[in-house]
């Protein structure tokens, strides 16, 4: 009707949805792609490992203590002769689950608080930002130590020795890491809510919930995902540091950090004992960080919005 025929957009070039576009860009980040595969392998190993490697994690054989890698014990044994591979498979589930769950907690809490602060213009927003600042200045490691000290037994009573401490560690690590996410989400919200497409939705009569859910959140997830990956890595390190300071999982729960802690005195006698869990932590953390880096490139706001 406008009396015009237009060439179809962007000629014949095949283009994709923003997410596929992101994936396409992500795949070009070599280390990130390799890391994603590595992490997947790690996850598969700890999930499926027990079906393949059927050695009990607490089978003591003191005659076979501190043996290096062999066919019977591919990762060697610890001083009680327990199979390190089996323990690592078991502990890896916990370590990785801690990372993922703590990240989930941090992201959910952070997004909620950030979104609330970003959408409200009044006292609530100020109060939430003050709270965020307060938590940012909180000395975290000491608090982490104290909280775990404080609540572990109560939760243990309710959820069992492993479940309780898992929930606690996840909540505490996640609960002390939401602030960056909240800041990020808030600043995203502050800028996005003034964006013209949000204003257009408002002009169309979209409710605030709709504006947030359909327009603001989907555009804010990119940075949140990146922050989330960093949180996974940080939580894994935090858990191992806690174990290292003797305050993590119960001694008979062989998380990677715990294994490392147990092995630290045997570094020069049985280096394999520390090397494998240490290496696993390292690989997981590097991989996750690289994935975050790849996502950052792929989701770079400048290129999408």
């Amino acid at each position: 009707m406008a009396g015009l025929t237009l060439a179809s957009p962007s000629a014949e070039r095949r283009t994709y949805s923003p997410w596929r576009e992101t994936w396409r860009r992500y795949r070009r980040h070599r280390p990130a792609t390799v890391s994603a595969v590595l992490l997947l392998v790690l996850i598969l190993a700890v999930v499926l490992g027990p079906f393949v490697w059927r050695v009990a994690i607490n089978e003591i054989d003191i005659t076979a203590g501190l043996q290096g890698p062999s066919l019977a014990h591919p990762f060697g044994t610890d001083d009680l002769g327990q199979d390190i591979l089996a323990r690592m498979i078991y502990g890896g589930r916990i370590s990785l689950a801690v990372g993922l769950a703590a990240m989930t907690v941090a992201v959910i809490v952070g997004t909620l608080i950030g979104a609330l602060a970003g959408m409200s213009r009044g006292a609530l927003g100020h109060a939430l930002m003050w709270l965020t600042d307060l938590f940012l200045s909180m000395p975290q490691l000491p608090l982490l130590l104290l909280l775990i000290y404080l609540f572990r037994d109560g939760l243990k009573a309710v959820f069992g020795p492993e479940g309780g401490i898992f929930i606690l560690i996840v909540l505490v690590i996640g609960g002390l890491r939401w602030m960056p996410v909240a800041c990020l989400v808030r600043s995203q919200f502050l800028s996005l809510r003034e964006k013209e497409f949000v204003e257009a939705a408002r002009a169309l009569g979209a409710s605030p919930v709709r504006q947030v859910v359909r327009h603001i959140l989907p555009n804010a997830v990119g940075p949140v995902i990146i922050a989330g990956t960093i949180d996974v890595a940080a939580a894994i390190i935090a858990e191992s540091t806690l174990s290292f300071l003797g305050l993590g999982f119960p001694p008979d729960t062989p998380t990677w950090g715990r294994l490392l802690y147990d092995a630290k005195d045997f570094l020069d006698i049985g280096p394999h004992w520390a090397l494998f869990p240490g290496g696993a932590i390292f690989i997981a953390v590097v991989a996750i960080n690289f994935i975050g880096d790849g996502l950052r490139d792929a989701l770079d706001a400048r290129q999408v919005i």
């Binding site: 015009l4 025929t5 237009l6 060439a7 962007s10 000629a11 070039r13």
Partner: protein, 326 residues
């Protein structure tokens, strides 16, 4: 006497994720001493890249001058290294950028930003350089010049910032000033001030000006000669009067006719003549004339063979198959 600046067959390409982007793909132009040359064209057609290529100010990588010569006073600048070019930058060729907001360093005082170039090229002491800066500020009509020396860019309005930019570009009295859309970001009343000022300066210093713009109005008011670019190529070149009087290329014609004209306001309103379609993407462009898909007069040959610049009248050149001898 050789022209001040002569660009021959310049090709500047950018490596992008999707392939080679041929931002500038064969640009020829000449600029004589003391002349004002306007470069017009749509956004993204390569005006800035052409200008930046002269002093190798494009990001390299991803950018690369693939081919061509840039003769400044007969000397080819293309093979020079960045540090060799440093002696020409600002000293021989001054630059004024499009966005006065972002083109000044926000954390340095404006005085320092002008003075550092004087210290570098004129070997002045700090004090002398600042004195000269005050002079320049007065020249570009910054009120209370001496007092504002130690102010930061954010304390200036857009128009004042552009004056600082002009002072900076002219500080070393270059032979050529390249002004890349110096008024696009400004309001009309301020735009008029800045254009007047530029004209003023040009006359005072007797330098040549290469003015990049996309506003035909600005071209008509300031240029002596005009180069029209489309999709990385020069499509037409003429002196300003003949270009407006008899635009040859269909793109130039469309460009002139698609703008509403205020001076004709009293006459009955006509429908604007729009150029349909959109600007082509410069990665692996289709063969033939790049304007062909949007051209009203497109012929078979247009999508097969690339037209070359040819003279259609003295001093008027154009790249179009239309009216060319078969």
């Amino acid at each position: 006497m050789p022209p001040l600046l002569e660009i021959k067959g310049l090709k500047t390409h950018f490596a992008t994720d999707d392939g080679m982007l041929q931002a500038v793909d064969g640009v020829d132009l000449t600029l004589n001493k003391g002349e004002t040359l306007c470069v017009v064209g749509e956004s993204g057609c390569g005006k800035t890249v052409t200008a930046m290529s002269i002093l190798k100010l494009i990001a390299m990588p991803p950018g690369r001058i693939v081919q061509g010569e840039i003769l400044f006073e007969g000397r080819d600048l293309v093979p020079l290294t960045s540090s060799q070019l440093d002696d020409i930058r600002a000293k021989e060729i001054g630059f004024i950028f499009q966005e006065p907001m972002t083109s000044l360093n926000p954390v340095l005082t404006v005085g320092e930003q002008v003075a550092e170039s004087l210290r570098r090229h004129e070997g002045l002491s700090n004090k002398d350089a600042l004195d000269r800066t005050v002079e320049m500020f007065k020249l570009v009509q910054i009120p209370n010049a001496a007092g504002r020396l130690h102010d930061y860019p954010h304390q200036f309005s857009g128009g004042m910032r552009q004056r600082v930019m002009i002072a900076m570009a002219l500080a070393c009295k270059p032979k050529l000033v390249i002004a890349d859309e110096p008024t696009t970001a400004l309001d009309v009343t301020i735009q008029a001030q800045i254009l007047d000022l530029l004209q003023d300066m040009k006359e005072r210093f007797g330098m040549a000006v290469m003015l990049i713009t996309h506003a035909m109005g600005v071209v008509a008011e300031t240029a002596q000669r005009v180069v029209v670019m489309y999709a990385g190529k020069v499509v037409e070149e003429a002196d300003v009067d003949s270009l407006f009087a008899s635009p040859g290329h269909p793109y130039t014609q469309g460009l002139i006719r698609s703008i509403p004209r205020i001076d004709l306001a009293s006459e009955h309103k006509t429908r604007l003549e729009a150029i349909g379609g959109t600007v082509p993407i410069l990665i692996n462009p289709a063969p033939g004339c790049r304007f062909a898909p949007r051209c009203r007069h497109a012929m078979q040959i247009c999508s097969e063979q690339e037209p070359v610049l040819r003279e259609i009248a003295p001093g008027h050149r154009m790249a179009c198959h239309l009216g060319a001898a078969p």
